[in-house]
């Protein structure tokens, strides 16, 4: 029996926890996370408010749960969006080669040259800050990353003899890309996606922290942190909880990505 790497197991458990909580928050949270009760602010943990209440008397655990959903959604949409565009571009560049490849890769370089945070700030300045813009900004920074990964792996696959064989069989590049290239770069892309997912969670937190992400009343770990940072002296747990949530989620996806990489590493596969 293959033994799964420890980082994969820990990562999977943490991810399952975070995703599970996020999913649960869709149907149930202990309280409405947006319910204010200003008179009951800074409430201690009780059987009603398990982690106590925040500076506006909202239930903290409900907010953390709702924020998990927010975080997961942003990361998922951003990585899917940026990932699919990036992968499509990378595959295109790899399949066509020549000047198309050059242009796509130069564009990717340009994407790297433009500081991501600045892009988010400007996007927010033009269209006003919103979760959508945060998603777009994070998706945007993902495009060149995935384009590079996809192109590099696809270029490798294109040199494999089975691809040559498919060409010898008379398959066109589109079909080859679908039948051979995509499945064979999938592992690399999925590993990258897991890692970018972790990065996206961090990015969403940072943008919300700067006020460029989730808008009230939507709950967000980053925003909770920014609202709580001056409360560090008063109610440190308000800053500790969302911070720990971010760490847990990012760590989970990071370890999962690590684990997946270990599992899909061809050298290790062959050894097993």
């Amino acid at each position: 029996m293959k033994r799964l790497p420890a980082n994969f197991i820990i990562g999977a458990v943490l991810v399952a926890l975070v995703v599970g909580v996020a999913a649960l928050s869709l149907i149930w949270t202990p309280h409405d996370p947006t319910d204010l009760n200003i008179r009951g602010k800074f409430g201690p943990p009780t059987t009603v408010n398990w982690l106590g209440t925040d500076q506006l008397g909202r239930d903290i655990i409900s907010q953390l749960m709702a924020a998990a959903r927010n975080s997961m959604t942003v990361a998922l949409v951003a990585v899917l969006l940026g990932g699919s565009i990036g992968v499509a571009l990378g595959l295109l560049a790899s399949a066509i080669g020549g000047w198309v490849e050059d242009i796509v890769m130069r564009l990717a370089d340009l994407g790297f040259a433009f500081p991501a945070l600045l892009f988010a700030i400007m996007l927010a300045a033009v269209f006003g800050p919103s979760l959508t813009n945060a998603v777009l900004a994070i998706a945007f920074i993902n495009i060149p990353i995935f384009a590079r990964v996809a192109r590099a792996s696809a270029n490798q696959v294109w040199t494999r003899e089975y691809v040559l064989a498919a060409r010898a069989a008379g398959m066109n590049k589109l079909v080859i890309t679908r039948d051979h290239i995509l499945p064979n770069i999938a592992a690399a892309v999925i590993v990258q996606a897991t890692i970018e997912f972790a990065v996206a969670i961090l990015a969403e937190a940072a943008l919300s922290y700067l006020g460029l992400g989730a808008q009230p009343p939507a709950s967000s770990w980053g925003r909770m942190l920014s609202e709580a940072q001056t409360l560090m002296y008063l109610a440190p747990e308000l800053a500790i909880y969302p911070g720990l949530c971010i760490v847990t989620a990012v760590l989970g996806f990071g370890l999962l990505g690590d684990g997946l990489r270990d599992i899909t590493d061809p050298r290790l596969v062959r050894a097993r």
Partner: protein, 468 residues
């Protein structure tokens, strides 16, 4: 003694006559620069570069007598030529004075001799002497005016020493000032710390002596409990309002506006957003003002009634935007107001927007339903008389006429009566949701004495401040 003061807003220029940034006035006006008059902590106008003045019978001609003991920091003399220069510059066609409006009533400025300046007005202006004490009407010298933005030269009790942009600005005592004897501080350093958490840390780590405009009301109790510090709760001229776009449905309907006023709960807002550290207002006038009327009871909070009123007006369940500028008082209030409106059946979409965006979309284009903003200028009830082009979208001949009589009424008691009438009228019309007066929250090391506790104007003179 040396003093280190924390400032949240970083200035971009040091010339108050060409830039409206409040921190420029905060540091420079009446410290480095001086004006003809000066406004005291309780809002009264007193002599400054002008030691005395005469007002003609008709209230249109002001004759100022200038001090002969003042000189600019670069050594050049101060006389009526400098006053003429400063006024002509502010009033010129290509003037970029941020409060050019306060010079509008002026017909002419003349200098009969080196120690006398005569100003003729086109019409009576009740706030003229008050305005002459602002940073916008600081007296500058022709020799140094072009470099004032980076190396300010004035006549004040403090001289500019150095400025590391983004970090600190240092002033030193001007030993040649006519009143140098009453200046206790030798050196004043302003440190620019915009992040509230960083401000707190800097204060706690005793990097700073004072943070007069402390950005985190939630921590005041903490500082109060700390024997090292003293907390000051003062007031500013800033009325915080929930502005509604009166030009656009549904807020062109007075019943909807009244419903909003009924839906909001000021105590909750002040408690939640300002940690109880603010005074509620029921209209557009500061509670510390002489003419203040308490109208906070005009629309007692009644969610059920508000709901009915919204239903009656046919807007219940509708969605509108609440576009909020990036100031903590605004973003925090927005969250609570949003919840209160939601209870009353209105779905307010909060959008925290950037300041540039706010200026463009809300202020210039009036593209908004609701917003939250503090009006920090003194004597600014005139905003309601600025017509439909102003972002309120409020156009009411009755209010325009009322303001006209207020601003030309020379008699203080009569003016106060009119101001009370104005407050009443605005409350009755429920033009906006009137929330609270923006407090001036300061944290000081115990040994700091003499700092203004309230700010009727944008500046706080350091002349009377001492340490230890």
């Amino acid at each position: 003694a040396d003093l280190v003061i924390g400032m949240q807003q970083e200035p971009t220029s040091l010339d108050p006559t060409s830039d409206a940034t409040a921190s420029i006035d905060g540091m420079m006006t009446q410290n480095v620069y001086e004006s003809l008059t000066i406004v005291s902590e309780n809002g009264e106008v007193g002599p400054n570069l002008a030691t005395a003045w005469d007002v003609s019978e008709d209230g249109l001609t002001y004759t100022f007598t200038l001090t002969d003991a003042a000189q600019f920091h670069d050594g050049t003399a101060f006389d009526s030529e400098d006053v003429l220069f400063s006024f002509n510059r502010a009033m010129a066609e290509d003037s970029v004075n941020p409060s050019k409006g306060i010079f509008k009533p002026i017909e002419s400025v003349t200098a009969p001799d080196a120690r006398t300046v005569q100003i003729k007005l086109k019409n009576k202006d009740a706030f003229f002497l008050f305005n002459m004490g602002q940073g916008d009407s600081a007296i500058v010298a022709a020799e140094s005016v072009d470099t004032n933005n980076a190396t300010p030269v004035g006549t004040g009790p403090f001289k500019f020493d150095s400025w590391t942009r983004g970090d600190r600005l240092t002033l030193v005592k001007n030993p040649d000032h006519r009143d140098a004897a009453s200046v206790a501080l030798d050196k004043v350093t302003y440190r620019f710390i915009s992040d509230p958490a960083a401000a707190t840390a800097a204060m706690m780590a005793e990097e700073l002596d004072a943070f007069p405009g402390f950005p985190a009301p939630e921590l005041l109790e903490q500082f109060e409990a700390d024997p090292r510090f003293r907390v000051n709760l003062g007031s500013t001229e800033g009325e915080v309002i929930l502005a509604m776009n009166n030009a656009k449905p549904p807020f062109d309907n007075i019943e909807v506006r009244r419903a909003v006023s009924t839906a909001i709960n000021r105590d909750e807002i002040i408690d939640g957003a300002m940690y109880g550290k603010a005074t509620p207002i029921g209209s557009f006038y500061p509670p510390h003002g002489k003419a203040y009327v308490d109208l906070t009871g005009a629309y007692p909070t009644d969610t059920a009634k508000a709901k009915e009123m919204f239903e009656a007006a046919g807007v219940a369940g509708s969605t509108m935007t609440l576009r909020v500028p990036p100031f903590p008082y605004a973003t925090r209030s927005a969250e609570i107001i949003q919840a209160q409106l939601a209870d009353a059946g209105i779905d307010a979409k909060v959008e925290n927007v950037e300041w540039g965006f706010w200026i463009d979309e809300i202020y210039k284009k009036q593209n908004y339903d609701m917003t939250i903003i503090a009006h920090t200028s003194p004597n600014d009830m005139g905003n309601f008389a600025r017509g439909p082009k102003y972002f309120y979208g409020y156009d009411d001949p009755k209010m325009t006429a009322l303001w006209e009589s207020i601003s030309t009424e020379a008699d203080a008691d009569k003016r106060d009566m009119l101001l009370k009438e104005g407050q009443q009228y605005l409350s009755d019309q429920a033009v906006h949701g009137f929330l609270f007066q923006l407090p001036l929250l300061g944290v000081f090391r115990n040994e700091i004495k003499g700092y203004w506790s309230s700010a009727p104007v944008l500046y706080t003179p350091l002349k009377g401040v001492s340490k230890g």
